[in-house]
């Protein structure tokens, strides 16, 4: 992945339809490298579909998508640069919350002592649940764990689908601040959200789905 490309994500003339129902018609979008874009819009307008296409998890009917100048793909290089929470994870059986975080750190070649696993758990309010298994967590806590894992490993682009979902107000503020730090640190961010306050706090440029469509 070329991280020095001027644009993290470029989408041109994207068309997607489910059966006879068009969802995305001529969508165009650019996320500058080191910048953040938040897409808003009502339910069913195609935010998640757009994010899925950019994450290479869905084939568009037509249109062009480039992530750091290349086609999104299933290669290890792509997934080392891109982290997405568009799809919910299935947690590994018999592995605790902390061990999930450590597993991701180690697989990405990080030294777990340096990666700040305990700090990350603390920040996301999961310290008391470090020894729990993820399926036993509440839905909000699962969302916190997903974000903790997504943010602790190195990446160049975060693609988040409604990261504020199921979080309490304090959690939203925390996550927004972390995302702002991520972008300030040179990372790029593409997310969909219903919470404009949250989006503004995360430093992302807010845009509506309608304004992206042709």
């Amino acid at each position: 992945m070329v991280d020095h490309h001027p644009a993290a994500v470029e989408v041109e003339d994207l068309h997607v339809s489910y059966g006879a129902t068009p969802v995305l018609t001529g969508v165009a979008l650019t996320v500058p490298a080191g910048g953040g874009v938040c897409v808003t819009g009502e339910n069913g307008i195609g935010k998640s579909t757009l994010l899925r296409c950019v994450s290479s998890l869905q084939q568009p009917d037509s249109g062009e998508i480039r992530v750091f100048g290349g086609a999104p793909g299933a290669t290890p290089e792509f997934w080392r640069a891109v982290v997405t929470t568009v799809e919910p994870p299935t947690w590994y059986p018999g592995l605790t919350v902390r061990e999930h975080v450590e597993l991701v750190c180690r697989a990405n070649g990080q030294d777990p002592e340096q990666a700040g696993i305990d700090e990350a758990l603390e920040r996301f309010g999961l310290t008391g649940h470090a020894d729990a298994i993820p399926p036993s967590l509440s839905s909000g806590q699962k969302q916190r764990l997903t974000l903790a894992v997504a943010l602790i490993r190195p990446s160049s682009l975060l693609i988040l689908d409604e990261p504020e979902q199921r979080l309490d107000p304090d959690g939203r503020k925390e996550v927004a601040a972390l995302l702002a730090d991520y972008v300030a640190g040179g990372g790029s961010l593409l997310m969909a959200s219903h919470d404009e306050e949250f989006a503004a706090a995360s430093g992302a440029e807010v845009t509506t789905m309608e304004s992206l469509s042709a």
Binding site: A74, Y92, P93, L95, R98, E99, A107, P112, P135, S136
Partner: protein
């Protein structure tokens, strides 16, 4: 607020009327007809095999074998009842009728009745099989009937114990542990019997006049316990019924979709939900996914114990043709390896975590093959070593051949774990007995087919000659090359997901 309960029967009648209104006329009758036809045709096809299982031409089990069969068969019945409830509701009933102001006892009674009938039938069949294998053919019809009735009553009694355990506290877990222990002892007895070759006794079965009062008393006791249980039915806690309803629903899904993974996944989830874990730090030297697999194995030590015990099972085939022992060892290697292939199954079902890990599918599978391989190698070595020690195999260091089978078990287990859901869109086969869908058949073969890599070991065991080291070497090479080819053929350095998109 009123305390009056809504009568349940009209609600149930209304539901069944509405449901049948959406079905085709005569569909239920047709289903019953096909079920009966199926039982008749299959029964006709396998009646000889059934006779061997339940009533061989001459009794062939020693006293030890018969005594061991009792805890094995009834222990399995009890543990199965515990796993599946035993008291369950259908999922819709659990959602809509359980929270409704209806009589709890009436709601649960049909389920209890049905389970009691099943437990009685299974108990009677188990009793009949034990009598058929152990009792002399001079036993009269009334005696056999009384013994089978007694066994059916024991089946119901076990159901009532399981029912109390379902509603009760932690003593249920202790009873489960005790029954597992009895089951293990029974298996040990069977193995001891097959190695000692105990003779078949001709006497020792009580006559009908002695049996009659015994069975009568048992019937009285079970009957009153049953009545007592029905009175206490309303006290079964909600969460237990909900859990059992989910089990029943999953069982239905499993049977309907021919998809056993629904059931195994549910059992796995429940197991971990009840465990208390402590996070460990991963050692830096081991590859990260190997560490994870080791952790999973270490956390399920009890399963290792069972695996070690099951390594003695091929001994039971001592009198069977040797190729059957070979097949049993290969299947055992697959099962042993499968116990640590759970993480592959998670990744194959949902690659989200694999993407977060950012490892290529080749690196992931290469790491994931290690622990299953070691388990399969150790299990086969143990099984073949036991067979050698008990003199069931000709001379040679057979355990070494077992070690060489390790990679074969690993490849088969990982291949099995990567199979997705059954593909029901495959063309069905039309046979004279009805339509057979090929999807489940094809699905069931994926994984075990890789056991063909164990052919050198199988041939060597089947021949019954002393073991040659050449075979060990050939098996090791074939297993190694097979594993290598499996990795190169099914994974890629350029792909994270386990299956190509």
């Amino acid at each position: 607020m009123t305390s009056a309960t809504v009568p349940l029967a009209p609600v149930r009648r209304w539901i069944s009327r509405r449901q049948s209104a959406h079905r085709e006329r005569g569909a239920t009758a047709g289903n019953i007809y096909f079920a009966l036809l199926f039982v008749a045709v299959v029964g006709g096809m396998v009646h000889k095999q059934l006779a061997v299982v339940f009533w061989p031409t001459a009794p062939n089990a020693s006293r030890l074998a018969a005594a061991s069969l009792v805890p094995v068969l009834f222990g399995l019945l009890y543990l199965a009842l515990r796993r599946f409830g035993p008291l369950a509701l259908s999922r819709p009933a659990a959602s809509w009728l359980l929270p409704a102001p209806v009589s709890r006892r009436r709601l649960l009674l049909p389920s209890l009745r049905l389970t009691a009938i099943v437990a009685a039938i299974v108990g009677a069949l188990a009793g009949l099989a034990i009598v058929g294998h152990a009792a002399p053919r001079t036993l009269g019809g009334p005696q056999v009937c009384l013994l089978a009735t007694g066994a059916a009553l024991i089946g119901i009694a076990l159901l009532l114990v399981a029912l109390a355990a379902q509603a009760g506290g932690r003593w249920g877990d202790r009873v489960d542990a005790l029954v597992s222990l009895l089951l293990a002892a029974g298996l040990a007895g069977l193995i001891a019997d097959s190695t000692s070759g105990g003779d078949v006794p001709a006497i020792g079965w009580p006559p009908a006049p002695v049996l009659l009062p015994l069975v009568g008393t048992l019937a009285l006791a079970v009957g009153s316990l049953f009545a007592f249980s029905v009175r206490g039915l309303a006290r079964t806690p909600n969460e237990r019924i909900l859990e059992a309803a989910k089990t029943a629903g999953t069982l239905f899904d499993t049977a309907f979709g021919v998809e056993p993974s629904f059931l195994t996944d549910m059992i796995e989830r429940r197991y971990w939900a009840h465990r208390r874990l402590r996070s460990v730090r991963f050692p830096a030297r081991l590859p990260v996914l190997v560490t994870q697999d080791v952790l999973l194995v270490v956390r399920r030590r009890k399963r290792l114990l069972w695996l070690a015990l099951l390594a003695a099972l091929p001994v039971l085939l001592g009198h069977a043709p040797h190729w059957l022992i070979g097949v049993a060892v290969l299947i055992g290697a697959l099962l042993a390896a499968s116990t640590s292939a759970g993480n592959v199954k998670t990744d194959a079902g949902n690659p989200v975590l694999l993407r977060l890990l950012g490892l290529s599918s080749r690196r992931a599978i290469s790491q994931r093959l290690w622990v299953p391989g070691v388990l399969a190698a150790l299990w086969s070595a143990l099984a073949l070593g036991l067979l050698t020690a008990l003199g069931e195999l000709p001379a040679g260091q057979w355990w070494a051949l077992g070690l060489a089978v390790g990679p074969v078990g690993a490849v088969a287990a990982v291949r099995r774990a990567r199979v997705g859901f059954v593909r029901n869109e495959l063309l069905p086969l039309d046979t004279p007995m009805g339509t057979v869908s090929t999807g489940p058949l094809v699905n069931a073969a994926i994984g075990p087919d890789a056991l063909l890599l164990g052919l050198p070991a199988l041939v060597e065991i089947a021949q019954g000659h002393p073991l040659s080291w050449n075979t060990v070497l050939i098996q090791a090479v074939v297993g190694g090359i097979g594993a290598r080819a499996y990795i190169t053929g099914t994974t890629s350095n350029e792909r994270v997901e386990l299956s190509a998109r």
